[in-house]
């Protein structure tokens, strides 16, 4: 068997716990063609350039396919897989109910509720000395939040969790097994779409102030969202809203426990968590790859020509540690300033929920740091979820001496 390439090693599950040394190898050729035809981009400046390049499409129907090959599914649901002007319109219609310019206080107003949810979750483990950060805190927290925000019943979690997981696990770079992954995803996507479509149908009779109600009822200069668009947009927000933040909070806790002196600093310096979360997004981000872009034209970049129709994978996590861009890239510097990272991507597809994810991570990490007494890792590295694209621990077991009571 031929020795596998750096890219293949990154995809291999055995390297999930620490892909960073492989990323350094990858960056030696910032734009590199792989065996399967994917062009993997790992340099910071090349990634930023391509994320702002109108010759790049997010619509995989633009792939050049050999004649006779089957058409695969078309990627993730919703505007994440579309190009302007369709993308811009759908994103505007969704943003209207989520953030500025029309709902600027929406996320900020959630803050007291976010704090309360985290405090309750930590109260729930107060009598234990062993905690699974994933199952006990990092997963239930963002799920509760996205359910309330979207207007999805929290008690349905056991139903949509399976679909959301299947979709999340299907995301990742590489073309070799993509058709198979997309087949598996299609079923989950259909079921989730039907679930949200049904929910929207119900909501139509009884509108509330949740996002789903907004998507259903608004009509303005951009027209209204079709029921099908409501279902896919709702699916996208539900999946993205709870399959990524869990990794950010878990990666954050893991990183803090690997640098235990930081825990005291977070207690003493309330502003520090702001910068710590940015550094986490650079150093241990939840999303490692954007793996769904396509070249609409031959694109010359970093001495390579990406041919028209080729799939492109952007290695965000490699770019954020590019020594050409950032000093001491492999050091976790919790108060790093002017931190320009690719944790949420860049350009028109910049993470829709970034402000919410930031707030959730800031609140979760400061509460955990404040209340866990002498926390330590049970296993390091922890077991990881399979995806190389959305990377994070499956479980993160820790032991504590106790949990400090909430002081009002």
């Amino acid at each position: 068997m031929a020795p596998s390439s750096v890219f293949e090693q990154i995809l291999d599950y055995s390297h999930r716990a620490d892909p960073y040394s492989l990323y350094a190898e990858l960056r030696r050729t910032p734009v590199a063609r792989q065996e399967d035809g994917t062009y993997v981009v790992s340099g910071y400046k090349e990634i930023v350039a391509l994320l702002h390049d109108p010759r790049i499409s997010s619509d995989r129907r633009n792939l050049a396919r050999p004649p006779g090959s089957e058409e695969g599914a078309t990627g993730l649901p919703g505007f994440i897989s579309t190009d302007p002007p369709v993308h811009d319109r759908l994103r505007r219609l969704a943003m209207r109910h989520f953030g500025p310019p029309h709902s600027p206080h929406r996320i900020e107003n959630l803050r007291p509720e976010l704090i309360l949810i985290v405090r309750n979750l930590i109260d729930g483990v107060a009598d234990r000395t062993r905690i699974d950060i994933v199952d006990d805190i990092a997963y239930p927290f963002p799920v509760t939040v996205i359910c309330r925000l979207l207007g999805v019943p929290r008690e349905d979690e056991s139903r949509f969790h399976v679909w959301a997981d299947a979709i999340a696990e299907s995301i990742g770079p590489g073309e070799a097994d993509r058709a198979e992954r997309e087949r598996r995803r299609t079923d989950a996507q259909r079921e989730l779409g039907q679930y949200l479509g049904g929910l929207a149908e119900e909501r139509r009779k009884n509108l509330g102030d949740d996002l789903l109600s907004g998507l259903i009822s608004y009509e303005g200069p951009d027209g209204a969202m079709s029921p099908a668009d409501v279902a896919v947009t709702g699916s996208l927000l539900l999946v993205a809203g709870h399959e990524t933040t869990v990794n950010l909070i878990t990666n954050g806790t893991l990183t803090l426990l690997r640098h235990p002196e930081l825990i005291q600093r977070l207690r003493d310096e309330p502003d520090l968590v702001i910068y710590t979360v940015e550094e986490l997004l650079r150093y241990e981000p939840p999303v490692h790859f954007i793996s769904s872009r396509v070249a609409l034209e031959d694109i010359e970049i970093a001495g390579t020509t990406i041919p028209k129709g080729a799939p492109i994978a952007l290695a965000l996590a490699a770019g954020s540690r590019d020594p050409e861009h950032v000093a001491e890239p492999d050091r976790f510097i919790p108060d790093r300033r002017y931190n320009e990272h690719l944790g949420f991507g860049a350009g028109i597809h910049y993470c829709f929920g970034a402000p919410l994810a930031r707030l959730e991570a800031q609140i979760a990490l400061s509460e955990l740091a404040r209340r866990l007494q002498n926390p330590r890792l049970v296993t390091d590295p922890p077991p990881y979820r399979p995806s190389a694209g959305l990377r994070g621990p499956r479980h993160l077991l820790i032991e504590v001496d106790g949990v400090t009571q909430t002081t009002p």
């Binding site: 702002h52 500025p100 996320i107 309330p270 502003d271 861009h325 002017y338 910049y350 402000p355 930031r358």
Partner: protein, 536 residues
């Protein structure tokens, strides 16, 4: 706390407006408005907002002197071995954006000699762009626009005193109060001032106001707050258009009178000017193009009450805003021997001033609105740019070169970039849109006023202008820098089936110079140029 957003970098991601919604607001999709002096109670929110900015364009209290990337350390220039860096004397004339920034960069790069800043205004350096936006609309008091300190610049600062002359032989700057300040190297950054209404009696009417300084912005704000019957804006350049936009935000009736065929024509040409005209009218502006104001009329108490236009009509209004562009502050250099005139102070691409013979000087540098420099990308044409981003970039180059020997000097090669926020729309530009014969809409929709317009000159891409599409600007900046062909020949998202370039309708630029150069002498060693003031 002092807040400044480098809107040259801002791409309208809106993260700040999520995280600190009481300090940063999106006025429309991409146009950002912010409090330049945020309440201390907002501190935590502002920190969150600044940390979250995807392009790190938000500066608090201090201003980073390195914009690109995260490497914020000083760029170490090789020391000039004459000891100048340690004990030299630098005087900066002009204490606004360019002057203040140059001072910060000089200290950052290790200049430890004496540093003097001369400014004719009584304030610390302040930021002008908010004056025609946040300040006029009443969100921020005019005197709360001070620039974040570059760092605690260790400099002797002489506020409220103008420079009156420059003696190159004696190496002194003469001040209006008679004092003289000696220097080894001097930076000229005296900028520009608002062009006044040409008739002094009419200009003196109560209610006739220019807009450039803190005081002028304060007075105009007071007038607008008093809810005048109507505001007349004379001139539809960027300042005039922004004033009109604020008037509409305040629901004040406003008439804009523009000599040219459309607003912004001088900067963006007629095609995009027409888009701006539609935008103004859609927002309720009474826009009159191809018309001039012939006279401003006052009542018995000397209060402005009406304007008579060249088409015979009359506009009754309580306030007239004179937005006729700027005059460069060069009068103090009249007898200096430098090539200083209404065009500005000529310099090379390294910011070294040129004397009236066209020779480059060694110890006199120029930066900001007053500098007239050759741009290699645009056929080495000399240009003066009244843009925020140019003042910043040029000040960096000038300061670097003041500390460097010939072998280590840098050229000022950055493409011009500017922005304007008006009518809930963010307009941004890169390159020189007036250096064009054709223009084409490359992405988006003119009807929605969300688009990218590209400008070309003889088959080469020379500029790009976006309306609420700032994220695509850098891509086209790269193409302009690489002299890419025009019109673009590649497939791209959100692009019409076929691109249809049309004539750019760029105005001819024949400036009245008010100065004539005469050459005397025959022998090459004797031939000299002299400036004769007054047009001929």
């Amino acid at each position: 706390m002092r807040v400044i957003v480098d809107l040259t970098r801002c791409q309208g991601y809106g993260q700040c407006a999520f995280l600190a919604p009481d300090v940063f607001t999106m006025n429309g999709e991409e146009a950002l408005l912010y409090d330049t002096d945020a309440d201390e109670a907002q501190r935590e929110h502002v920190l969150r907002a600044a940390a979250a900015c995807p392009v790190q364009a938000i500066h608090l209290d201090r201003m980073a002197t390195q914009h690109r990337g995260m490497r914020t350390g000083a760029v170490v220039s090789p020391p000039v071995d004459d000891g100048f860096r340690k004990t030299g004397r630098i005087v900066i004339v002009g204490a606004s954006l360019a002057g203040a920034r140059a001072a910060g960069v000089l200290r950052r790069d290790g200049f430890t000699g004496s540093l003097t800043l001369i400014g004719d205004e009584p304030y610390e350096p302040y930021d002008r762009p908010p004056l025609s936006k946040q300040v006029l609309v009443g969100r921020v008091p005019a005197d709360h626009t001070l620039l974040p300190r570059l760092r605690e610049v260790d400099a002797e600062w002489l506020p409220g005193v103008a420079a009156a002359g420059l003696d190159l032989a004696a190496r002194t700057v003469r001040l209006s109060d008679g004092r003289e300040v000696g220097f080894d190297r001097v930076l000229i950054a005296t900028g520009a001032r608002a062009r006044p209404w040409p008739n002094p009696e009419e200009a003196a009417l109560d209610g006739v106001l220019p807009l450039r300084t803190i005081e002028e912005a304060s007075s105009l704000r007071e007038r607008l707050a008093a809810r005048p019957r109507r505001v007349l804006v004379i001139g539809a350049g960027f300042t005039g258009s922004e004033v009109a936009s604020v008037c509409r935000d305040l629901d004040l009736p406003v008439t804009v009178v523009e000599r040219g065929p459309a607003p912004l024509v001088g900067a963006l040409g007629g095609v995009i000017g027409d888009v701006a005209a539609d935008m103004q009218r859609a927002h309720g502006v009474d826009l009159r193009c191809g018309v001039t104001v012939e006279a401003l009329e006052g009542d018995a108490d000397g209060r402005f009450r009406a304007a008579r236009l060249s088409d015979g009509s009359t506009v009754e209004a309580d306030v007239a805003v004179v937005a006729l562009g700027a005059i460069r502050n060069v009068e103090w250099l009249r007898d200096s021997g430098l090539a200083a005139g209404v065009w500005g102070v000529a310099c090379d691409a390294g910011c070294r001033a040129v004397d009236i013979n066209g020779l480059v000087t060694d110890d006199v540098f120029v930066a900001g609105d007053v500098a007239r420099f050759p741009h290699p990308v645009y056929n080495f044409q000399f240009m003066t740019l009244e843009h925020w981003g140019n003042a910043v970039a040029q000040a960096e180059i000038a300061a670097h070169n003041m500390l460097s020997d010939q072998a280590h000097r840098w050229p000022h090669l950055s493409l011009p970039v500017f922005w304007s926020n008006q009518f809930g729309t963010s307009i941004k530009s890169v390159g020189v849109p007036t250096f064009a014969d054709e223009v084409v809409i490359a992405h988006g929709s003119v009807e929605e006023r969300r688009f990218v317009a590209l400008y070309g000159y003889r088959g080469r891409l020379t500029a790009a202008v976006t309306f609420d599409r700032a994220m695509w600007l850098e891509f086209y900046q790269g193409l302009i820098e690489r002299a890419a062909p025009f019109p673009p020949d590649f497939r791209a998202t959100d692009r019409p089936e076929t691109l249809r370039p049309v004539p750019a309708e760029v105005p001819e630029r024949l400036e009245a110079t008010q100065v004539t150069v005469m050459v005397t002498g025959h022998d090459p060693a004797e031939r000299r140029a002299t400036l004769v003031h007054g047009d001929r």
